[in-house]
């Protein structure tokens, strides 16, 4: 890669001008002639069946075109496998309007299609439903005894490995020990943009679908399978996605309903969900966890036992990696991990920002803090003491792990050395001050991905891949990687994404887009670079006639001799001389599996948090956060910092605000709007500092990128809880730490 390149530069988002002028069109924004609007009616019970559904009055509303229920829904594919997608757990995927059965509260039971949104919305309110009610269960606590081992129920999920050593014996023998139960709350993704699909039907029946998704190809395959269409009949577009955080990993029911109506009515149709309906598909599951940990006199970990139970639906076996982090983060010879799932009458949970780690590392990092306190050792010193460069269960070295640098740099900037050890020892007027910290960890994956590049005769480069940018900065960093590889100015390069007709890319999730698609973009541009060089070498009187590829540098749109940069040719002149209008290449970049598998690959972080607690009211303010992240090479520190800031805000939200409350009597999420589902507002967020530590890693992928989407959130809630303990002497173990819990625990 070009040393004087754009990699590592703070480049403002290339899609910024569109986003600040309202010209970025999201799934429900595209202008379509003769568009019909669909509005969904949601089930009012959690389990049972539809005895009767009366649409007569609703149908009479002016503008209503059709009302779909399970009774008149057009036929779709028969087999379950046709409904599976790239993020499906094992089971029978939900089929909207598939039968009279009610599987969860909020289930779509009718779609009203009308010639205006108002008419559809109003008519939906006039549908009369009679239910046959069956008893439901939505409380995970009551299902502990029925929990089961999920096996490999979801792609990417590894069941906990066999225990190492003898944790029970080591725990019994150790001088310092803790045993505690922790719980995490159900959360809903709630991107600001509600899920929407706009299906544009052309006269020949082709469908162009603007969908809110993190995977256009995933949605294309789903639509083709479910509705028996050919790939060339369905094009999915998602040039702009208004946040997702995992909610767009699976095709959601608005896509199914919009396509169904469009095919049946032979018209263009848009279906947008309401904010309330954003609580009706997929969520971060509740978890109940137990940790036993022990240390010797010097504070060396002797035993870790981590057990978790999380929830799934009755139709799919969702599972995420909650306990695995406890077997990879610290050095320990005796480890036992266990994870079970239990069925509830809710929708299947869905991967949500740092799935599993957000819950499991919260418990681990709280327990580590408790054990440090029990051992009489500073929590930072305790973690440093138990640092490991090897995965303790797999006995593999980490490809890189600059976690100690994270601790050191963040602690210095935070001023950790001034911390008083005892709880309740720091005050500011009537406010108790607490300082806490935690470690974060997430895996660094690379998946197969493709990219196409076209270099035009005028020196413009267009690179593309069917990947996504939902605020993650993909447009910008791919433009940087392409421009850097071919030595072109940034404004000569454009990157296209969010289109199923482009080169194949994996779902965008798990923090692997930058590493996977970035590698493909770099490699396809290298291929073009080789071609340009070969053409330049053959030119009459070429300054590179005797040179090899390694002797030449690409910069500012020119090829230069490294030994004599004045010897140069413009890329445009090379193409023009050779008589080719453009050069086009497509390439699939595969992970180097043997090289990667020889090492454990992960991102790490450290979070230092200051809280101010009002003891009388139980209110907690996170007044200061210093985060340090070791995530390999940082392509764009400006957008990278935003990723981490966002993660930290999510962590604060998990710690203090966010919970979807189920009313178990009616089996329904009660706080299904932004008035009652609390996420931080501007006034809740104070200073957040982000440090990227230097980390070089040639094993994770050729670019040395580890990804940033998840690492900013993992561990933050534990750091907040640990700070609350330091402030108040009260240990809270059930997220979120709302004021009622703090007040009732401290009396």
């Amino acid at each position: 890669m070009n040393p004087s390149s754009l990699i590592g530069k703070e480049i403002p988002r290339v899609d910024g001008p569109l986003k600040v002028t309202g010209r970025a069109h999201y799934a429900a924004d595209v202008a379509v002639d003769e568009l019909l609007h669909g509005y969904v009616l949601s089930s009012g019970i959690a389990r049972g069946w539809i005895r009767k559904i009366d649409t007569a009055i609703a149908s009479s509303v002016q503008g209503v075109v059709q009302i779909y229920t399970h009774e008149n829904r057009p036929d779709t594919a028969w087999f379950d496998r046709k409904y599976r997608d790239d993020d499906s757990p094992q089971g029978s995927p939900f089929r909207p309007l598939g039968s009279d059965k009610i599987l969860y509260s909020g289930q779509p039971i009718a779609l009203v299609v009308a010639n205006s949104l108002n008419a559809a919305r109003y008519a939906a309110s006039l549908i009369e439903v009679e239910y046959g009610v069956e008893p439901h269960v939505t409380s995970l606590e009551t299902q502990r005894e029925k929990a089961f081992q999920p096996g490999r129920a979801k792609s990417g999920y590894e069941p906990p490995p066999k225990p190492k050593g003898n944790p029970e014996e080591a725990y019994a023998a150790a001088p310092h020990k803790i045993e505690a139960r922790y719980s995490t709350a159900i959360q809903h993704h709630n991107p600001m943009e509600p899920h929407a699909s706009t299906v544009i039907r052309s006269h020949d029946g082709h469908l162009t679908i603007y969908d809110k998704t993190q995977g256009v190809l995933n949605c294309q395959t789903y639509v083709c399978n479910v509705f028996n269409l050919k790939k060339d009949q369905v094009r999915i577009l998602s040039p702009f996605v208004g946040g997702a955080f995992g909610s767009g990993l699976r095709p959601q029911y608005q896509l199914f309903l919009a396509v169904m109506a469009s095919l049946d009515l032979q018209s263009s149709v848009r279906v947008m969900l309401s904010r309330q309906q954003m609580f009706s598909f997929g969520h971060r599951p509740r978890s109940l966890q137990k940790l036993q940990m022990a240390a010797d006199e010097a504070g060396n970990l002797q035993a870790i036992t981590h057990e978790a139970i999380s929830e799934t639906s009755h139709f799919e076996d969702y599972v995420e990696q909650i306990v695995g982090w406890s077997g990879m983060t610290y050095a320990c010879d005796n480890i036992r991990l266990d994870h079970k799932i239990a069925r509830l009458d809710t929708y299947t949970p869905l991967d949500m920002r740092a799935p599993g780690a957000t819950s499991g590392v919260y418990a681990l990092e709280t327990a580590i803090d408790e054990l440090a306190v029990a051992s009489g050792i500073d929590p930072l010193a305790f973690r440093i003491k138990n640092f490991t460069t090897q995965h303790p269960l797999k006995n593999k070295p980490f490809s890189s792990k600059e976690l100690l640098a994270c601790y050191e740099q963040a602690a210095a900037r935070f001023g950790w050395q001034a911390r008083k050890k005892e709880a309740r020892s720091m005050r500011e007027g009537r406010k108790l001050i607490g300082w806490g910290m935690a470690t974060g960890v997430w895996e660094a994956y690379q998946r197969p991905a493709s990219a196409e590049a076209i270099l035009y005769g005028d020196g413009r480069l267009v690179v593309s891949s069917a990947t996504s940018d939902f605020g993650t900065g993909t447009y910008t960093i791919m433009t940087q990687i392409a421009a850097a590889t071919l030595g072109l100015p940034l404004d000569a390069v454009s990157f296209k994404l969010g289109d199923s007709s482009l080169a194949e890319a994996p779902l965008s999730g798990g923090s692997f887009t930058a590493s996977s698609v970035g590698t493909a973009v770099m490699k396809v541009c290298e291929k073009i670079r080789h071609k340009v060089f070969a053409m330049a070498k053959k030119m009459e009187g070429s300054p590179f006639a005797e040179q090899s590829y390694e002797d030449v540098e690409f910069a500012d749109g020119f090829l230069h001799r490294k030994s004599n940069p004045a010897q140069m040719l413009s890329i445009a002149s090379v193409l023009s001389y050779s008589g080719v209008g453009s050069l086009q290449e497509e390439l699939k970049a595969m992970p180097d599996v043997p090289k990667q598998e020889s090492h454990e690959r992960a991102t790490h972080s450290a979070f230092f948090v200051e809280v101010k607690v009002d003891e009388d009211f139980g209110t907690v303010e996170v007044s200061r956060v210093v985060s340090a992240v070791a995530a390999g090479r940082i392509i764009n520190p400006l957008t990278a910092r935003s990723q981490i800031l966002g993660g930290v805000v999510w962590g604060i939200s998990q710690a203090l605000h966010e919970e979807s409350y189920l009313d178990h009597k009616i089996g329904r999420f009660m706080n299904h709007d932004f008035a009652e589902y609390h996420i931080p507002v501007q006034a809740d967020i104070k200073d957040i500092d982000v440090i990227f530590v230097e980390e070089h890693d040639e094993i994770v992928n050729p670019l040395g990128i580890k990804g940033l989407g998840e690492i900013g959130i993992v561990g933050v809630s534990a750091a907040v809880g640990n700070a609350i303990f330091h402030a108040t002497g009260t240990r809270l173990r059930d997220l979120p730490f709302t004021l009622d819990k703090l007040i009732s625990s401290s009396h």
């Binding site: 569109l18 600040v20 999201y26 010639n115 935003s642 966002g646």
Partner: protein
Amino acid sequence: MDPSIAEDAKGPSWHRSSVSDTAHELRMQVNGVATHLHVEPWTSLLDALRENLGLTGTKRGCDHGQCGACTVLVNGRRINSCLALAALQDGASVTTIEGLAQGDQLSPMQEAFIEADAFQCGFCTPGQICSAMGLLAEGRAKTQDEIREQMSGNLCRCGAYTNILAAVEKVLHSEGKGQHS
């Protein structure tokens, strides 16, 4: 769509209705353009902008006045357009995100949002920027904490708050300097 004339209930040919008996005639200046349309009494300003005028820069995030994504300026004041009835805006001057730039020349607030990376997905951004313009016009926010408090009606799920604060602060301070010089 031509913003000067738009019918409510624009729909497929087999169901297109002419202006209904209950419709109200409404004249507004929208981003400086005289606009004449017919809306039902229950049509929100948000729906009038998005569905009738095709101005989709204004976003529907909750439809309940809880998220601020639909914030626009009505006669210079920031409001949640999802909670405002369109019919009551007769004679009003409405500015949406589409009306802030002069051609390709972005307004200082738009520039500041890009420079500070004050957004990620961009969905709440039109509302944030309109809200920030309203905040400047109100002239009550001087400190960081006052900006934070007075920008708290606009949710950002990507968590760009610290950068939004930086962008608003920058424009606030540069405007202050401009007034004194």
